[in-house]
Symmetry: C2
Subunit: 330 residues, 2 copies
């Protein structure tokens, strides 16, 4: 027997009112599409941009089919300290492949990697890093590389946070991605990382399908019915390469760009130089407590020139410490 | 005064029945998603493939987000005789640019183009064609090139049909594109033509947005805030370049591929070699009356090796003469 008949009419409507009112409060919280963003200039800039570009009759209106927003990955959507995740992957791959390469025991930069010699690795410089990337990212089919990346991501843990790298993504940016998509924008990645390191997991993690991921690409051959990744880069999708990558892969320029480093300068420049309403935003890592604090002096994700020019070019600086109430998903 | 009251009850219901019956016939015709395809093996192959890949529980089922189909452009979606449309564009551009290049009056292959000397142009061969493409497709921004292409397409007419090139598209293939999209497939172009020659108009003409167009690409630079098309090719998206282009641009391999020439061989090969249900189809131009008849001996769109191997590889040969009740849109 239900307890309902035991309640007085007044009691019942009182409970219903209370329930309705609780629901309304939840609905109000749910109405904030960016709950991890503190109220302020940056949150307002995003919401104003979306209102302008999606309101018919507004001078900034963009037809749904043309709405496009790009996001850098390292340091904009996920953590890039103490080193780029893809570099951590490459170094681990050197260890994994070492048994097949006895010559690496004496050959730089591999010797330094195997000996955990950070000084030696530093001396090898960019040229050394390119050697490492070539040796670890080529010589297999795209499908085989896909499996290698997925296997590594499953077991690898971030040295400070102890979590899988794909959990060290920024909750406020997930909300931005979802909101842009809800407003009819195609959300794309435009990253200096290689496209095929990101494509296996971006849909699961960010809701961005592989075809919307622009990154550095490798040469490939097709022989005997098989695609083979070659140890030569094609496009280096960083700095001035980003406008080239966007034009080549996306078939049009976005109206909004989110980045965090000087490698995003030209992407922000070309996006915000376009006609109509534009949005350029830079994630400024000023939160040593919850994540990291770095800019002009950092080896990874250096932010110097873009920091100097942000105000002049109308790019919004997002303060991770002040603007974000959460950093990572719970 | 309406004539209706003048009709007897019987007369009126007779008219209504006739009207209803006409409607039913129209609805039956409307139910055929491929009305320009004659019933037969090829039409059935398309419908069977779509049924298998979109029916949950079927061994060939493909989740909606993974459904991908590629289409060659020249000779598969639009006419490629008496020469590739992009070559007609390039030759017209040589004439348009000649006043700025007095040296072209004596310099091959440009001299032959300006003198309408087809023999001379033939002698210049592929190397000559590449020179012409470089000279006419580079030295401007992607936006400027976009405008040049659109302007040309507006005024250019096909020498035999006297219609704009963008009207010389195959009605049966438009129906295939629409049907694949209605079944949740992303429809993409994978063409030997350059991506930026197609992107300005593929959405309007085929319903394929620029981001879904894979083609031959040019090198580009970004300097002084401006993208510049350079006279060097990047990827030649033809033959063995097509699997590379699909992997690089689409981020995954399609389940279905439509082509018409040996340049599509490797695309068909890699698509139909994949696991699960696959579809490979070749448009065979055997209709001199309504379009053109050509295969093994043709300069443009040669179909020889793929014609030899089609049966062995399970690729369906579409007979334009027999399988298509219409060729061009009305």
């Amino acid at each position: 027997m239900s307890t309902l008949p035991l309640l007085s009419r007044r009691g019942l409507s009182g409970m219903m009112l209370a329930a309705l009112s609780a629901r309304a409060t939840a609905a109000q919280a749910g109405d904030d599409p960016l709950p991890s963003w503190r109220d302020g200039e940056r949150k307002r800039a995003i919401l104003d941009f979306l209102a302008a570009t999606t309101t018919e009759g507004d001078a900034g209106f963009v037809p749904p089919g043309d709405r496009l927003a790009v996001f850098d990955n390292d340091g904009t959507l996920w953590v890039e300290q103490p080193m780029y995740t893809q570099l951590a992957f490459a170094l681990d791959r050197v260890h994994a492949l070492a048994p097949q390469h006895p010559e690496w025991q004496t050959q730089e930069p591999f010797r330094s990697v195997l000996a955990h010699d950070r000084e030696g690795l530093s001396r090898a410089g960019t040229r050394g890093l390119v050697e490492i990337v070539k040796a670890t990212h080529a010589g297999m089919s795209p499908d085989e590389f896909h499996v290698i990346v997925e296997d590594w991501l499953r077991q690898a843990r971030h040295p400070r946070f102890g979590r899988p790298y794909t959990e060290l993504i920024y909750q406020p940016m997930l909300e931005v991605l979802a909101l842009f998509r809800a407003r009819g924008f195609r959300t794309c990645i435009c990253s200096g990382g290689t496209a095929e390191f990101m494509r296996p997991w971006t849909e699961r993690v960010y809701g961005i399908p592989p075809g919307n991921v622009v990154g550095t690409t490798f040469q490939m051959s097709f022989e005997n019915g098989r695609l083979l990744r070659l140890p030569e880069m094609d496009l280096i999708n960083d700095g001035p390469g980003k406008p080239v990558g966007m034009s080549r892969f996306l078939g049009g320029l976005p109206q909004a760009a989110f980045g965090n480093s000087d490698g995003d300068y030209e992407m922000l420049q070309v996006v915000t130089a376009g006609p109509g309403r534009r949005l350029g935003m830079i994630v400024h890592h000023d939160d040593a407590l919850r994540e990291y604090a770095y800019d002009r002096q950092s080896h990874f994700g250096r932010l110097d020139r873009a920091l100097n020019d942000a105000a002049r070019r109308g790019w919004h600086l997002i303060s991770m410490a002040d603007d974000w109430s959460n950093v990572f998903p719970a």
